[in-house]
Each structure stands twice: as structure tokens, then as C-alpha cells.
Symmetry: C2
Subunit: 433 residues, 2 copies
């Protein structure tokens, strides 16, 4: 049974706080195994990578076959239907157009002291995208990771994707091609992350690693953080729908199920001031559930992690939403813009009844790699800036140094950093002498 709460219940605050604190996914303790795998790849490079791929993916590789050849990619892609290709291309075009607008601007100005100040954005030189194999091998995620990197100006963009038993999803290869990926390596797990971070004879090291993965991949990313940049450590998916009484209960039920079907750890929550709608959505959801191909997964998610909360009004709904900081927030209300203005913490907001969250997963344009597990309080979905970095710039004139140098010298002395002070003083003495 999903959790059914009303903010007027005596026990509401305790129950809501418990839900917020609930850990939906037990992190497997794989850190020791991952540390050993990373050390092995660092020490033995390709040999370790090939041996581990043989063990975990039942696949015999050589340095020459670590990457898909052009002929192999062409042969796989030829199996994709024209309709699937057209859909992927439409998605890529829309994702590219949205992310093009995220490109940041450089700046430079002269201030009152005569100092010239500014900053400059540059792209990361090389990035590696992790793409899971098997069931969670989503071509849409390839687009969502690779396109921001290309828009940022990343020069070398590679994919690591395990192919257990040699099986690959042709749509993943097509998505990589459409997005402009240079090379696809058929390796996965912690060993792939280690190869991308440290490099091997065949796989050149990258500067940034992004993309979802299992517990081994997540632990490996956490371990190589600092050596390379990483994106967030993604947790199970979540949706929060805030709806008013007039909303269509079947549409909301399907939107909630489209998160629940991802994973038994996924979470779908409805918050509404209308108790009648709450009942109608529950009924619609129970009616849709048995017919789903993934009924078992979606049912477990709904039973174990689902929640329906009835509030006094929409303001109270927004306040609860801010405490949840949902990955996906859908506003099925008359004035979604007004409500969105009150929702400060969310990865992505879907405004109005005609914007199902699934549009955002594929073709809306915004990224579908979003902060989970309440991390929208402090982080953003994947974007172009994740593949760029800012260099600050400063140029003093003699006059500027004369104006602000003495304060720098004073602070250096107060911090007992004498050489800092002397480096300023030597120049001031030249100006004064």
C-alpha cells in the first residue's frame, strides 16, 4: 500500500519526515572490490581490462577489438528501423537546440581602480560517457550525455558500454553516432571507469566521466573523483505531481507509473488539495497497473515507495515539494507558472496537463539526467557547463596596484604569509622609488 497522508492528520509531520529520511536503495558495499579493480587497471592497463571483461561480460577481447570498428557500427545501425531513427534524430535536434542556449559568455571589464578583470569559459578536452548494458541501455541517455558535451566543445568524446555476451543495442550505437561520439569501447563496470580515468595503452585518459551505472560504476566514479571530474551519483528516479481537482486522473496515474516502471526503488508521489482527485488517481493507477509489461516492478515501486498527500491548499503543496526537492515535478494545475514560482527546489518542472514527464525524457529538449534523492536542493541536471570550466583573469596596471596593493600586503602580513606581501611590496617600491 502506498502511503496515504493528509496534512491535517495528527501524525503528518512525523510520517512525512520519515518518508523524507527513508533510504529507498541500499547501497551495496562494493568499495573494496572496486578499489582492487581500479588498482589492477592502473597497474596492468589493457591486459587487466581485457581479463576483467572476459570474466564479467563473458567476452574475449584484444586491444584491437576494445573499440567497435566502423564496419561493426554500420552493420548494427543498419538494423534500426527508419521510424526509430527519425525519432532519435528529432530528439537529438531538440536536445541540441535547448543546450545551445546554455553556452555561457565570457566577460571582461575595467574597474574603478583601473584593474582589468574578467573570466573565460573553455571546454573540457576529453570526456567519457558511461552507458549501461542490458536492460538499462537507453539510447536517450546517450543523447542526453553526449549532446551537452559536443555543444560545450569537447574535442574527444568516447563512450564505454558493456556488451555482455557481445550483445549491443543498435540504437545505442546510432545515438552515439548522431550525437558525434568519436569512439565506443565495449567495456563496462569499474574497469571501464578506471580505464577512462587513468588511461591504458589503447584507451586514452579523459578529463570528465558522466553517465549512470550500477553500484560498481557509482563506487568507481566516487573513487576517481578528483583525478577526473564526474557528474552526480544518480539514485533511483522520482516524480512528484501536484494537481488540482479538475486534473485528468488517468493521465496523472500514467505519469506516476512512468517513473514507477523504471525500478522498484523509484518513487511516485501525488500531492493535491482535493481528496476526491487523490482517490480518483489511486483508482486509475490500480486500474492501469495490471496491464503494464512491467507490472511487477511498477507495482512494487508503488506499494513500497508511492505516496498520496492531501493538503489544505496549493501553497502547502509547494512547501512540501520544497522539502522533497523532487527530481521531476509535474504541475497539473490551472496556473502552473504561478505555482512553479513557489517551488524552489526541483530538477525539472513540467508545466500543465499537456506536459507529461515522458516528453522530458525524450524530446522536450531539457536534459533528463537530473538530481535525485533530494539533491535538487544543491545541484542541477546535466548541462553544458558540466563540460566546461571557467578561468578567471586579472590584469593590474601600475595605478591599480598602487590603489589596492597596500591592502593585499597588509592582509598577507596578518596571515603571516611574508613572501605574498613582499611580492606586492617589491612592485610598489619600484613605483614609488
Amino acid at each position: 500500500m502506498p502511503m496515504l497522508l493528509s496534512t491535517t492528520d495528527a501524525g503528518f509531520e512525523a510520517a512525512f519526515a520519515a518518508m523524507l529520511g527513508q533510504k529507498r536503495e541500499e547501497a551495496e558495499d562494493v568499495d573494496a572490490a572496486v578499489a582492487a579493480i581500479i588498482a589492477d587497471v592502473r597497474a596492468r592497463g589493457d591486459a587487466a581490462l581485457i581479463e576483467l571483461t572476459g570474466r564479467f561480460d563473458r567476452l574475449a577481447l584484444t586491444p584491437e577489438t576494445l573499440a567497435f570498428s566502423k564496419a561493426e557500427i554500420a552493420a548494427e545501425i543498419a538494423r534500426v528501423s527508419p521510424e526509430d531513427r527519425a525519432a532519435l534524430e528529432l530528439a537529438a535536434e531538440r536536445i541540441r537546440a535547448y543546450h545551445e542556449r546554455q553556452k555561457p559568455e565570457d566577460a571582461g571589464w575595467t574597474d574603478a581602480a583601473g584593474a582589468w578583470l574578467g573570466w573565460r569559459w573553455t571546454a573540457v578536452s576529453a570526456a567519457g560517457l558511461y552507458v549501461p548494458g542490458g536492460l538499462a541501455s537507453y539510447p536517450s541517455s546517450v543523447l542526453m550525455n553526449a549532446i551537452p558535451a559536443k555543444v560545450a566543445g569537447v574535442e574527444r568524446l568516447v563512450v564505454a558500454c558493456p556488451t555482455p555476451g557481445g550483445v549491443v543495442n543498435p540504437l545505442v550505437l546510432l545515438a552515439a553516432q548522431i550525437a558525434g561520439v568519436d569512439t565506443v569501447y565495449r567495456v563496462g563496470g569499474a574497469q571501464a571507469v578506471a580505464a577512462l580515468a587513468y588511461g591504458t595503452a589503447t584507451i586514452a585518459a579523459v578529463d570528465k566521466i558522466t553517465g549512470p551505472g550500477n553500484a560498481y560504476v557509482a563506487a568507481a566514479k566516487r573513487r576517481v573523483f578528483g583525478r577526473v571530474g564526474i557528474d552526480m551519483i544518480a539514485g533511483p528516479s522520482e516524480i512528484l505531481v501536484i494537481a488540482e481537482g479538475a486534473a485528468n486522473p488517468d493521465w496523472i496515474a500514467l505519469d506516476m507509473l512512468s517513473q514507477a516502471e523504471h525500478d522498484a526503488s523509484a518513487q511516485a508521489i501525488l500531492i493535491t488539495p482535493d481528496a476526491g482527485l487523490a482517490r480518483r488517481v489511486q483508482a486509475a493507477l490500480e486500474a492501469r497497473l495490471p496491464g503494464l509489461e512491467r507490472a511487477a516492478i511498477a507495482g512494487a515501486s508503488w506499494r513500497d515507495n508511492g505516496a498520496v498527500i492531501v493538503t489544505r491548499d496549493l501553497d502547502e503543496a509547494a512547501a512540501l515539494s520544497n522539502r522533497i526537492a523532487p527530481e521531476h515535478l509535474e504541475l497539473c494545475v490551472d496556473d502552473p507558472e504561478a505555482l512553479a514560482a513557489k517551488c524552489r527546489h526541483a530538477g525539472a518542472i513540467f508545466l500543465g496537463a499537456w506536459t507529461p514527464e515522458a516528453i522530458g525524457d525524450y524530446v522536450g529538449g531539457p536534459n533528463h539526467v537530473l538530481p535525485t534523492a533530494r539533491s535538487a536542493r544543491f545541484s542541477s541536471g546535466l548541462n553544458v557547463l558540466d563540460f566546461m570550466k571557467k578561468t578567471t583573469l586579472a590584469r593590474m596596471t601600475p595605478e591599480a596596484l598602487r590603489a589596492i596593493g597596500p591592502a593585499a600586503e597588509r592582509l598577507a602580513i596578518s596571515e603571516s604569509l611574508q613572501a605574498h606581501g613582499l611580492s606586492v611590496r617589491a612592485r610598489l617600491d619600484r613605483l614609488n622609488g
Copy 2:
């Protein structure tokens, strides 16, 4: 002896690669101790925090004295000289002015399909700044961490600073006051990071933790990453100076020593096409060293980690700089802007002979919290965006959904995510039926 290399040496590439791979600081393995401390603070809150502060800082606190009172702060600040206060205020004003320009803009537009798309930036609600105690307790770092947070719009900003034996640096408290910090807690170490991340009865949890610290603090930040946001894990400081023959060798020597005096693990490198200048800088540096208060530290840094590299020309210097990706890059050349354009990876660039790096540490305006250990390849110095996050926004119209919905449905089916497809299909059926 610092490393002396010339790019025309036969062994140059191997020696340079070895220098790049060199680990200047052995990370103490404190992870198990830190895990236990965090678990203790999570389980016992204030009681654990107070007990650990008693043990590590020899300071007996109660929940009531965890934070400095207004009277205590006023009494400490009264000890600061007017000159030091004026210097701090000038620094704060310049840092604030620079960071105000970093505030990002929201966006929104209607695209060809009729979809309304956009994004919105919002501030993190609460941030905690870690400030080391003792020798490395720098008021300038308080400004550099706190001001971007305030400019971003962070509502609750707290500082955690250990006060071993009860001793605090009054300039740290003044810097916190000038920057607008709400509360200063006299706790430190992994226990302070745990309290900020998880909260105790007295210290409310924050959403983001920034600031430098020792191995315990760094390990604790790495462990709470995900529960809260963190900034980078900072390593020892570095400077790279690229200079031409006409440059002043004494100024360059002092700039290099102002990094070397931080820490024996710090690194100062000179790259120049002029072998004569290389010798003059070395001589100037050796001449300045013995007179420094921190001669032992700076000398160890220079001996163990210093380097002088003679190149064929400035282009080769820029190429080496890009492989180093220095935290601080100083360009003492005739046309620093032209050379800066070729230096893609650096935390901060200081242009021309009148811009000693120490200006950037205090009063330049740009942030002095910068990526170390080659991480400027993929990350930026601390900035306003570190205290903000982006929410993507999308609103479909019926027409937009009709245009792009079928592609979303098709991709959902190709990924075996049936409910995703149905959530779009149910709306399309309404439009068509």
C-alpha cells in the same frame, strides 16, 4: 634541488611526464576514523560533537556555547586594528563586485513546435563554510567562500571553525561578519562536517559545504557528498610562471616563493624560452629564501617540488602549461593576452608583470579557491554558481504535443518503457478523438 629541464633535452618528455604524475601529498588514510566520527555524530548529535571537540580541541562546550555569542564576537573583533579592518573591507568590496557579475540569467522561449522551454536559477537555501583553525586560519578564505554564497542569495550561511584550546583568530570573526555570515560554530574536523551535513539539535543541517581543511575534513566531505553538495577537494597550492627574458627575476622569484611558503607540498614552476632568465630567477629565489620567516617550508617546497623549464618558444610554454593545468598561471610577457588565449586549462590567469598572484589571493576580486592537482582540466574556481542550481522548465501545448509526442512514444517503446509511451498516447488520443 628543483628540477631543471630543457625541452631540447633527450630525456625531457619522460622527466616532464614523471613530474605531472608525481603525487606531492600522500593522502593519510583516515577514512575509517572519519566514518566512525560521522556515524557517531549522526547517532548522538550534539553530545558526540561536544565530546569530540573536547578530545581533539581540548575545549569544553555545551549546546549553548557551540556558537559564538554576539558579545563574544564583538569582544574579539574589537581587538582588530583599524588598518586590518580597512584592508578586509576593501577586499570584501572588490570580491563582492566581481562575483555580482557572475549572477546567471534565467531564460524562457517558445520554439518552432510551440513548446515553451526555459530554465530558472535558484540559490541553495543553506550553506556551511569550513574554516581551518590554527596556522591555516585565513580571513581571506572566509571572504572568498562566504561572499559568493551571499551574492548567490543563500539564506542561511554558517561557519564551522575549530578553536583549539579556545583560541580564535579575531580577523576570521571579522571577515565572517563583513561577509554576512549568520552563525560561527567553534567546531572542526570530520565532526563539524558531519554536523553540517546531518544536523544536530543545535546545528541545523545545510545543503552545501565548502572550504578547505585537513585530511580528516577532506575525507568527511567526500563521504557526505550526495547528502549535501561539496566544493572541490583541495590539494597543495601551485603556481606556474611563464616569462620572457625582459621580466624582473626578483619579482618572479617572490611570486614563486609566495606559493612555496604555503606548504612544503606546494609547487612553483617557471617556464621560459630564455635560459638566462631561468638562471636569474633561480639566483634571485635562492637569494630571497634565507630571509623568509617561512624559509624552511618554502625551501622544502622549492627543493622537492620546484621546477624550471626552458622551452624553444612561448608556444611550447603554453602547450606545457596546458598539460600542467596550473591552479595559478602568471604570464610575465610582453603580450600576456595573446599568450593567455593559448592557455586553455588554468584556474586563474594573472596577466603581466604588475599582477602578482598575491593580488588575486586578497584584493583582485576573482576567487582564490581554485582547482589544484591538474583539476583545472575539468573544474573551475569557487564561484556564485556553486551556490545555485538550475531547474529546467517545459510547457507543451496540445499542438506541441501533437508535433513531438509521437517521437517520444516511439522511443519509449524502443526502450521497453510502456507507461512512458502510454502517458503520451493517452493525451494524443484525447487530441485526436
